[in-house]
Structures are given as structure tokens and as C-alpha cells.
Symmetry: D2
Subunit: 345 residues, 4 copies
């Protein structure tokens, strides 16, 4: 029996990605795709890769009952409409930051507060590699943020192994593509200005720090650069362990944490062109790549992590979480493995 | 029951694309992937998107029996090894130019002649939209060339409708990505030199003219430019019909030819950002986009066509043809619809 | 003695290019740079390459007297403010289309008419290679459009030599960068949507046809594609001469027309990576490259032409024209020759 | 009176950049440009931006006497040929690493040793902002390395001000373009593989660490990524001062160090699109941009630095140093300020 799905905010980039994934998913049928801006137009109007789909945007005011509602709306929208969303659907999967953090105080510190703090404890943070056990049966799922996902996936094995603990300060330098800015975009996002940049995008105080410190338990000194990509997020983490570690220790830690994960590949050296994690290698896919190198001169561990911010960092992660929550095959609808070669993803 | 497949020349770009498609195909099992250069390495060594696959390159001298052999080798290799290929497999699908043209004289004119001219009449040219009926049961299949495919798909409805006939001279201006040059590459393909070009790549005398004129029956004045893309081929055809045509005539012609095609989308005007065919909209997918505009000042029909040269222009077309030849679902293994947004594909 | 210059519309792309050129020009001193949007900010606020300049945007309502006023405003602004411009300056150089065409009827056909048709006969079209003799002493100069400039420069030698005449229909396929859209930009210009395109931008009916047909006397079937570049315009012209021509004829024609031109390089074959005109090779410079190839199969002449649309196609051409008009060294302020290597210009 | 100059290794990227700069320099005349590979071809064969120059490559075995010899050869060549270079020229400016480090032991640690260790004390390291006083009259000048230059320029004010001292460990994350790999290039440099990467290029143990620690006196934990650019190097340095600092302290430090420097712009916040240093803003120019941000949560100082690796990081720096050494105007031949907008530099 098919599970019905609605995508709210379906004309945006992550909304389109949800439509793409769900329309090829063996368990789901998309029955609604809402867009205020494009109501009644075909989804292919906004998303040319979906021009062959026979589906039109509907008004978000006209939500119908579905099994699962995916909300791909800007931050603040979900907390405003959460009651309507939960009335319409048994399971709500939110891709915004509105239900990611467990405490209202964090929203006061990092956002503009929270309208519905009483719901925060009902939400399940969905980075399946971290919170898989909490997902079955969850009915309010908050998919993790892209830069937080990249960082957490990179560092998690070191935390699990005790190589990173809460006392060290880990320097994290993230590089992201232009799709993180969404489909709107002002002058800084125009092609002539945005092309080819290595631009300090969030030198300090990026909101995803809150997610990382909450779920990883580690302090980070966090900086985000915009680089020439549309899709992709890459985190480089500089760790100075209290005790010396070997490459063997590191391989052991990554195998221990990710040995059975269907969407995480550990890549650390070896030969060929692609020796470490790269966003290109996972573009369009729900795979993450993680890896590391050891600095012989100072004992530093350099950790690399690469994801597609629209997939593993957003829509793919949301579908993965829904798969776990609803008891589907974990990889259902997420089989695409990326392309080689590919240009600037 | 699974159909076994070998990919010969599997470390090249189209070879990797075949591995990607066949490893996700419900009917095929890849039992061999040959590479002289990378024998015994994992396929992920050459193709980072396939790092999770448990498959290693083998020596092309050690071909084993399979149901279908896909040859993704440089031009000239298939004609040299065709007996070994046919000994090993019931069906051979060749992605090179070696068996595309029906007459030895054409190989004399456009290539360095042909070693096995007696086999040319046994081969089936595989551009399924054009030769679908010839494919069932075919055992030597020659997948069409990328630039020829883009051009033929664009013009075919006009030929079918009699708007283009053999007497006109159609000007065709093709734009291609760097993957057409393959995985080798010399100075002109190095990133600093190749980036951002609008480079006359084949001002005249491109070999695909032979395919186009043979299978479309139309003379073309053909020029190919290299532009900043890795994947993609876009053909713009300038047609001056003998008799005036209307947009209605054109829509009619495209609907007539492609109304039931699973992999061809007609896009001609309308609103939004993506109003005509674009390689970006089909990158990674087996879809082609075709469309047109009518010049009010001179009656010219401008035809646009866009494909992914590695997919619809090569590996995807080969799998599509194999699906038809073997009686599988036409779209099996070819469901991926492309990404939005995507950078420089 | 220094010549004073004002740049009106100085926060736009071509305005910034004028500031860059004039601030390094041995004869000019920029005394005003107007911008409604950025009044009182430094010019480096809009143009980061000029952050070291001690110059601020002023209000366009406060024009002061200067020797030369360069107007880099959107189409329609110059015709509205032309009296104020001419009151303020002895010489007005307009970079918009407002004074390019000689007859009001052409503005009716191609634009929204013209407010000051009586002034059209006073203006001098400034593509110096074509109209050099008309420029000395000209006081209302209309710099040619980018796509028209590329096309005219490519075809001019063939017109001069009688190889192209008014009866043939020349197919012109132009590829342009995103800076043609200016600093504003909507959804189609946002980085995620615009990156990596081969997009039919003006399939037919581009306004520069009027300039080409007026000044070259040749009918063109004209199509413009947007490709992945910020700067650059490349025109490929397909010419079918009435009488056969040889490569020697073509070399002769190009040498005859451009032998003494300081800003035109003829590039036609030879070896190495850059065998024909390429926008990359002239990015940032006022040089144009032109070249050709002869199709042995059908007598077609394929003409290639490449410019930087912001330079030879706009600001550089304007400064070049001003140099000629005012009797300065032709190349003054225009010595920069472009970069090698360079990425996507 | 003109100063004659030879460029050895003139067909490479930095060699071409030297040709470009010196051919537009008011004091220099290029009398030789050597290339083994392209002997007797015009320099425009290798460098399309110089196609209008009437200069041909000569054999490096035929060095003639000049005033200044610029060596743009791969590492190891200069130390082998240094006697011939010094015989031919009064002043040798070497762009390789061969004479950058002051002690043979450092070459043992970081390179493959040094053939002529006795000459190391005769060389002057040329990062003019750091060693300007040592340059006048210097006859063996070693231009600083690109990544070292970017890093040193970013951190120098903090070292001068005592905010960074030798005991802290500064994390440095550098992003570079593909021109750093030079004109040769293997598979990893081919356009399809190199495009759009965020690739750990030197996770640890990059040789420029030796220059940074030698000339800045600060330990660095250094990682280099390749990103989608041809030209450009950007260094992000994460500093944890022992004592809290304010933005005022930082502004003071940067003004103190760079207040009078003709080629360094400090950019730190403010409005608009370009709020911090960016390689795009200096592409093609000898300018460096430096800037900083203060992390309110942990006192971290994030330092940003951007240069064109071919200019300020190589050929431009070499010409700048020669200008100082020979008593020319410091900015002679280096007036170009970069472009706006520009694509992927």
C-alpha cells in the first residue's frame, strides 16, 4: 500500500529535491506539492529536471490529509504552521531549523527565539547515523542542517573513540555551494558576483554551531566559506588530541562508527585522483564521505567530510529519516550514487 | 534470472557510466569490468562515485562468457577485437564509432578505413527513437555518437514532417563539455587551459557529420564548440524551410515524433527560467530535451536539442538499446531524472 | 592638461569598467562617478577591484561640468537626460543603445520608439574599426553593442572583400557571459540557475540585429546563447559565398581590413591549444580576436570572433572612441592585454 | 635607459606572467624568453594573451647577457644552473623555491637537499612587505612562495603587534587554484577531474610551512585545498590570542603594518557583497587583500588573506622585488587593479 506524501514549499531547492526523491521512491506517492508563488503551474516550471512529471503546485492553504508531510520552508514557517501540518499528517518531517534544537534557550541565543517551545521535546533530531534508534515511530522529525551534518559526520568517530572530548577546541573550516542560499538570492548570489568566489560567508557565529555542540558535545571554532559550487558542503576539522594517535587508531575509530552504515564511505589516502572525501564524488547522492590525515609534525588530526548539502544535508537525510521512522528499507529511493566525471556540482 | 554483463574499457568515462547504470539495473549483473591500466584495483579507484561497489577491474585479455558485452573502448579497438567480443557474449553493444556507419566507403572518407567491412551490415545503429524496430534480437549494436544523437533528435521531427528535406543545408552549431575528450587529455584538456572556454573545437569536418547525413538524410554544415561543461551536448540547428511553417506545425511535428517517447521532452518557450532545452536540465539522465523557435523576420526555424553526452549520447543510449534488444522494460536502470539546481554539469 | 571625465551610472558593471580604465588613463581624471543607489559610498563598495581608489559615488542629479561625460546607464536613460548630459559636458559618450541607430523607424521596430529622434543624426556610431574617420571632433558618441561588435568585427573583412554581400543570409550564433545581464539580475541570473548553462537566451529577434544590418549591410539569422562565463562574447558566423574562396583569399581579406588595427588579432588555425579566437584570450582587454576556417565539403566559411563584452564590447570601445575623438593616443589607457591562464572569464 | 631582461622558463604559467608584466613595464625590455619545448615559436603560441607581441622563444642553452634574469623554472633547475644565470646577468630573480630558505638543513627536511648550500646566505627572500630594506642592491633574489605569501601577509600584523607569538599553534586553511600545478598537469589536473573540486590537496606537510615558520617565526598547522579557480590563493588563519583583543586592536595592527603599502588592502566587514578579502577581487593584479573577524564566543581571531598566486604570489612579487632592488618606482609595471565582475579567476 502506498504512503501518501505532501511537500510543502515544493518550489524551493530542497522542495524540488524532495519531489525528485519521492517521485522515484517505491513506497511514497506525492499527492501534494505546495507553492504560493507557482500555484497551478507544473512542478517542471520550477524544476526542469521534473518536466516530465504530471504534477502541479497547489496552494499551501489547501493542505489535504496525507501520511507524511515534508516541510521545506524557510526557517520560522514550520513553527508557525506546525499545528496545521500535524493536523494534516501523521508524520511531519521538517527540513528547517525550527525543531532541531532541544531547548528554547538555544533558539534565544542563536535565532529569534521560538514560538512553540513546548514542542521541542517532541521532536526527533534526524541525523540517522547519530539518532537512528530514536526514529522508529517518531512523528515530528527535524532533519539536521547541512553544515552541521558534514561536521558531525566527520568528527563522530573521534568522539565515539574518545579522541575528541568536550574540552578541546576543534577548528572547523566549511566550504559550501550557492544552493545553501536557496532559490531567492540577492546581489551576492547573482552569477557575476558569486561565480568563482572563495568568500568568507560566515566568518564566525554560524547557527549550525549550536547543532554541532548540542549533538556532538564538542566546542567548535567554526568558519564557513562560499566556494564555486552549487551543491556540496565540505568540512575540514583540525583536531589536536590530548594523547598521540596513530593512523591505525583512526581507521579503527571510523570503522567502528561507520562499518555498517549504508551511506557513509571512509576515504583516507590511497592512490588515484580522489584520495580524500570530495563533494564532487557524492553530488546528487545521499552518500557522505569522511576521511582523515595525520600531521607527522604536530600530532594534528585533519578530518575531511563531504556531502551534497541538498541530499545528505537536507532532502536525502529527510527521506532517509522517514524511511527509518516508517520502517521502510533504509536506502529506499536513495540509490543514486553520484556521477563521474561531473563538473562543478 | 539475471543477465550477466561485461564492460570492456571500464576505467574510462563511458565505461564508468556503464558500471553505474548496470550496477543499479534490475536485470543486469556486472560480472566483469576490464581495464588494462587499473587491473586488480577496485572500480572506485577510477570512479569515486562507485567507491562502495565491491568490484575490481580485470585484465581485458581474460574475457569470460557473459550474456551482454558492452565495449567502451577508443575507436578502432572494437573492430580489432570484435571476434573475441562476440565469442564471449551473445550480444555486443559497442559505444565507439566502429560499427555505426553502414558502408566501408564512409569509413574511408571519415576515418582511417575499416578492418572488418563485412560486419557492417550485421550491426544495428542504436538511436532507439530512430531505430527501435530494428533492435529486438540485434546481437551487434552500435550506440550512436553524442553530437550526432543531439542533432538527429533535434531535427528528426522536421524530417518526419517533410519540413527538412535532403536539399536544404542546415547549419548546426554544437556546444560540448570536456568529457567528450575522454579520461586521457593533453594540454588543451588541462584545467587551466580548458576552463571557461568558448573554443572552436571542430570548426568543420567533424566525423559525426557522417552519422547525421546517413541516418537523417540531410546535409549539415556542422561546427562544434567546446564550452565550460564536463557533461553535456547541445545542438542548435538553423533551418530555412522551403515553405513557411507555423508554431502549430512545429508543435504538431514534435508531438507526432516524440509523443510516446519515454526519454524525450519537448520544451519550446513558456515561462520561467528554463524555457528551452538545456544540458543542465538533463545532466546525469537519459532524457533528451528538444525544442524550437520561429524567427518572425525570415521564417527560420531554430531548433534546440540538449543531452548528457555520457548518457543519452553514450552509455545511457547503450543501456536503452540493450533494454529494447533484450525485451526488458525500456526505462529499466535509467530512471534518474537529473538534478535541480546543479552547477556546471 | 588633464581632461576631466564623469561616469554616470558608475555602480553598474560597465560603469565600473569605465572607472577602472579612466583611473589608469594618462589623459583623464575622473571627477564624478554617479550612482543613485550608492550615493556617498566609495566606489570600492560596488567594485572591489577599486577599493584602493579615493573616490565616492555622487548623486546623478548633481552633475558638474566636465570635458567628457560617459553614460553607462540602462537603455532609455540617456535619451531622457541627454540635454543635461550635453549641458554638462562638451563630449558625451553613451554606452547604451539610445543613439546607436540612425533612424527613428528602427527604434520603433526594435525598441519602444525614441523620444528625441531629431538627435539621431548628430550621433556617431563608435566601432572605431568601422567608423574611425567619423570620430575626431564628434560630440555625441554611441559605443556599439557587444554582440553587434563581435559580429561586425568578424564579418567586416568579408564584406570589404565582397565575399559577403547583402543578398546572402548569414547565420550567426553568439555565446555570451552573464555580465551582459548587468548588475541587477533576477531568478535566471542567480548563481544556482545560471551556472553552467548552454541556454538559448535570444533564440531570435535580438535587438543587435538592427545594428549589424545597419552598419554591415548584411542580413543575419541571429541567435544568442548564454554560456558559463561572466565576461565575453563570441560570434560564430556561417557564410556561404556565392563564389568559391580559398584560405589565401580569406587571409588577404583579414589582413587588408585589420593589418594596422591596434586591437584586432587574426587567429586562424596554426598549432597549440588556442588555435582560433577565444573570449578567454582577450578577457579584461580591449583586444578582439577574429579568425576563420573553410569547410572543404561545402565551401562554407566559418568565421569566429571573440571579445570581452565589457571592454571591446562596451567600456573599452567607449574609451577607444573617446581617444580618437579627442586626439589622444588610440591605445591610451587600454594597454592591458589579458591573462593567461585564466579560469572562466 | 632601458634595463634588459631575460625570462628563463618563459613558456610556463609564471614565465608568461613575467612576459606580460615586463613587456608593459616602463623600465624593462625583454630581450630573451627561453623555452626548450617551444624554441623558435612566438610567445603567443603558448600565451594567447600575448599573440600581438613580436617575440620568439629561444633555447635556454643560448643565454645572452642581460641586466636582470628572471628564472621561472621548476624547483631544482635554478640551483643547477645558478652559475650560468649569474654569469649572464647582474641580478637574478628566482621564482622557484631554490633560494628561499636560509639553511641547508631546511632543504634536507622539506626538499631533496640543496646542491649549492654555500649560496643560500647570498640570497634575499623577497616578500617586499617583509624584507623591503634588504632588497636594494640585492643580486640574488628569491621571490616568496604563493601560499607562504598569502599566509605571511595575513598574519604579519598580528606578529608585529605581539598578538601572535611563537608559542601558539595557528591553524591555516588555504584554498588554491589549478594554476599552482603549472602548465604540465596529469590526470588530476584534467578538466573533467579537476573542475569544481573541494579537494584536500596537501592535508599536511606542505613545503611552504618551512617558509612561513622561518620568516614569520610562528608555528602553523597547515592544510591546502584545491578549489574551483585557476588563479588565486586564499588563506584563512585561526588564531587564539593569549590575551583578549578587540576589533580596534586588530584595525590598529593592520594599519600599523600596512598603512603605507601600495599593494595591500585591508578589508574587514563593512557592507556590500565583498566584505572580506577575496581572490576574485585581486585576480590578475599584484594587490593582496587582508582582513579579519573576531569570534565573540571564544576570542578567536579569524584572519583572511587573498592574492593572485601568479602575481602577488609569484611573477608580480618578483617584479615588485626587482623594482625595489633596482631603484625603480615600486609600482612600475604593476598598475593593473583587477576586474569586476569576473568569473572564476
Amino acid at each position: 500500500m502506498t504512503t501518501t506524501a505532501a511537500v510543502v514549499g515544493a518550489s524551493g531547492f530542497t522542495g524540488g529535491e524532495l519531489l525528485r526523491l519521492l517521485s522515484g521512491h517505491p513506497e511514497f506517492e506525492v499527492t501534494q506539492a505546495t507553492s504560493r508563488q507557482y500555484t497551478r503551474k507544473t512542478v517542471g516550471y520550477a524544476h526542469p529536471n521534473l518536466r516530465h512529471l504530471d504534477l502541479r503546485f497547489s496552494d499551501p492553504a489547501d493542505l489535504e490529509s496525507v501520511d507524511v508531510l515534508f516541510a521545506a520552508t524557510p526557517h520560522g514557517v514550520s513553527m508557525e504552521h506546525i499545528d496545521a501540518f500535524r493536523d494534516a499528517a501523521d508524520t511531519v518531517v521538517d527540513l528547517s531549523a525550527d525543531f532541531r534544537l532541544p531547548e528554547a534557550a538555544l533558539y534565544d541565543d542563536w535565532y529569534d527565539g521560538h514560538d512553540r517551545p513546548e514542542l521541542l521535546s517532541e521532536a526527533t533530531y534526524a541525523l540517522p547515523e547519530l539518532t537512528r534508534e530514536d526514529l522508529p515511530g517518531a512523528d515530528l522529525i527535524a532533519a539536521g542542517g547541512c553544515n552541521a551534518t558534514a561536521t558531525i559526520l566527520g568528527l563522530l568517530p573521534l568522539v565515539d573513540a574518545g579522541i575528541v572530548d568536550g574540552d578541546q577546541r576543534v577548528v572547523v573550516d566549511v566550504k559550501v555551494g550557492s544552493s545553501e542560499g536557496g532559490a531567492g538570492g540577492g546581489a551576492a548570489s547573482s552569477h557575476p558576483e558569486r561565480s568563482g568566489v572563495v568568500r568568507p560567508y560566515a566568518p564566525t557565529s554560524h547557527r549550525h554551531e549550536a547543532e554541532i555542540e548540542t549533538y556532538l558535545g564538542t566546542r567548535v571554532a567554526f568558519t564557513v566559506h562560499a566556494v564555486e559550487m552549487v551543491r556540496g558542503a565540505s568540512a575540514t576539522c583540525h583536531v589536536f588530541p590530548d594523547e598521540p594517535v596513530t593512523k591505525g587508531d583512526l581507521w579503527g575509530a571510523y570503522r567502528e562508527t561507520y562499518g555498517d552504515e549504508p551511506f557513509v564511505r571512509t576515504v583516507a589516502g590511497g592512490g588515484g585522483v580522489y584520495r580524500y572525501p570530495e563533494p564532487k564524488a557524492v553530488a546528487g547522492s545521499n552518500h557522505a564521505e569522511v576521511g582523515f590525515e595525520l600531521d607527522p609534525r604536530n600530532g594534528r588530526v585533519v578530518v575531511f567530510s563531504a556531502i551534497d548539502n541538498m541530499m545528505k544535508g537536507s532532502a536525502g537525510q529527510a527521506v532517509h529519516a522517514a524511511n527509518v521512522a516508517l520502517g521502510f528499507e533504509e536506502t529506499a529511493g536513495l540509490a543514486f550514487t553520484g556521477l563521474h566525471p561531473v563538473g562543478t556540482p
